[in-house]
Symmetry: C2
Subunit: 332 residues, 2 copies
């Protein structure tokens, strides 16, 4: 295995100094067109690539962002959650667009120290944190350091860090309002309100019911993020009470709920109407196709990446709330 080429090799081949090669390769205006072209040709011919480690070592920037998933342990939400993965995909796209690579961290449990090490060890210039987990102090701890980071989640006045997320209150409101407009009156919200984002959705839900003077007809149910729990909780609900509308806190929960409803012989949406939240790609292909509240993850990812880059560059980043969108399909 022949040793990889260096700037010095190219410089020798081109008969110029290393600095000239360096400048030529980055198209510095200091270098004449003729030299620049010659250097480029030689580099190309020898399949030369700058050593990104040496470069980032010298420049102080790694041009890399680390993604870390901060799930609530016990929430049932797992890395294979289609919504999360979709978001990661969009983050990767946007990071690439901005000239950054994406480092993918997998921590079974969010660990502020380990996360900080990415930045402190200069492996990444900034952090994209997905989710607020259930240990607020670890994010607060991170905010105390000089690590640039942005969180996907629910904005609150007390957050010490910038967040990007959907206006969940509005999303919950839209879902409930939609079912009420469809003539449903006994609505149940299905979701785990210990989670800040879900809590906000529930608040929107409540608000819609209150405005319609139907405050009596709702109940919230502790269900986590996975399909299975949606299924189980719905089965339990069916045994316990009457309802004709189900506002689910995520599409996966809605899918579980629909399974449970169908296996009890309920017709959707005639007997019970259902809404989801997220608009994951599957939801349009299920049968019946799921009515849901779309979160614009592409736009969210763009804001996250741009916000963290701004923070890296020492600018101030502010919270962003994306507008949710009602997507009406066949479950309502």
């Amino acid at each position: 295995m022949k040793r990889a080429k260096t700037l010095a090799d190219i410089a020798r081949l081109a008969g110029v100094a290393e600095s000239t090669v360096s400048r030529a390769l980055k198209n510095s205006p200091l270098i004449s067109d003729a030299t620049r072209a010659r250097v480029h040709a030689i580099a190309e011919a020898h399949n030369f690539h700058l050593d990104s480690r040496a470069r980032s070592f010298k420049t102080g920037r790694s041009q890399t962002l680390a993604v870390v998933i901060n799930l609530s342990p016990g929430s049932g939400q797992v890395l294979s959650d289609p919504f999360l993965l979709g978001l990661v995909g969009c983050l990767a796209d946007e990071a690439a667009l901005q000239g950054y690579d994406l480092l993918f961290s997998t921590q079974r449990q969010f660990n502020a120290h380990q996360t900080l090490a990415y930045v402190a060890g200069r492996r990444a210039d900034g952090l994209l944190i997905i989710g607020q987990g259930n240990a607020p102090e670890s994010l607060a701890q991170l905010a105390g350091q000089q690590a640039p980071f942005v969180v996907w989640g629910q904005a609150t006045p007390t957050n010490l860090y910038p967040t990007v997320g959907t206006d969940n209150v509005q999303g919950g409101y839209l879902a409930a309002q939609h079912l009420l407009a469809r003539g449903k009156s006994a609505l149940v919200f299905l979701g785990d309100t210990r989670h800040p984002e879900i809590l906000a959705r529930y608040q929107g839900f409540q608000q819609a019911l209150t405005e319609a003077a139907r405050s009596e007809a709702h109940a919230d149910v502790q269900a986590a993020f996975c399909m299975q729990s949606g299924q189980e909780e719905t089965a339990r609900l069916l045994a316990e009470c009457q309802f004709d509308g189900l506002v689910c806190s995520s599409d996966l929960i809605a899918m579980g709920a629909i399974n449970a409803l169908q296996s009890q012989g309920k017709h959707i949406p005639q007997d019970v109407a259902v809404t989801g939240f997220d608009n994951i790609s599957l939801s349009q292909f299920m049968s019946p196709a799921l009515t849901t509240i779309e979160q614009d993850i592409r736009q969210g990812a763009q804001h996250m990446v741009q916000a963290v880059i701004a923070t890296i560059e020492g600018k101030e980043a502010h919270n962003i709330e994306l507008a949710p969108k009602l997507v009406v399909r066949n479950t309502s």
Copy 2:
């Protein structure tokens, strides 16, 4: 913003040389226990982290693997495919276990030059390539370089690179055999056989039918990787021919097919039995729960990571075929 600490700072604080700090931090046996403990304490107290760029610059290793997704353009397979994303998740886990970080590349279209740049630019020590795409020459081109890489896909005698994948022939065989054993006789294979993995599954399917002397009762259908195409192709099939068993080349296709069957009033599995392939997490929660051929992605990811590390270390890596497993649920 105070300047980050360096080895030299810690050395000064501890009253020793930089080299001693370096060795103490990596627990070299050259350093006495007393010194080692003192250095560790001071580093801890000052929240010191080695600069990973300088380190990797000096050692020549970046301790990073790049994942690149090599989809066939036009296959309908997208990055949000739950199977692919699940595999990426497992790769991340295993890489972390082996002390490697994972760089997440997003190329709309696989690009050998750009992919090679990860290794040539020393950003990553090796490549984990998911899928063989439909341009075999680009992988062959990569094999010509000195880049260590492993591919998830179908092993073939002509491959110039190590692959890890499921024994797809066996998988297709298991699915067909299972439906035959259930008393189904008119089987259709639903999948795009231009794709090497799918072709192998189809060959297994054919083999099972031949053994059962039912060679006349099958047809293969061009369908790509997404749910929608499974749905459309099945609708077309229903109009064109009679069948009572459907062997689908992936779980997503099976989900689409089931939607189409149900919307035509077919009962599953009485009228038509269906099998999937992959065993994505959703398949156990759909209704009816999907009978499928499981690909052991966790084990596959372990093999991929270990194989690429072996290649990086100059050892020889060989192809690996994982045993598929029939998971019987309610669609058969």
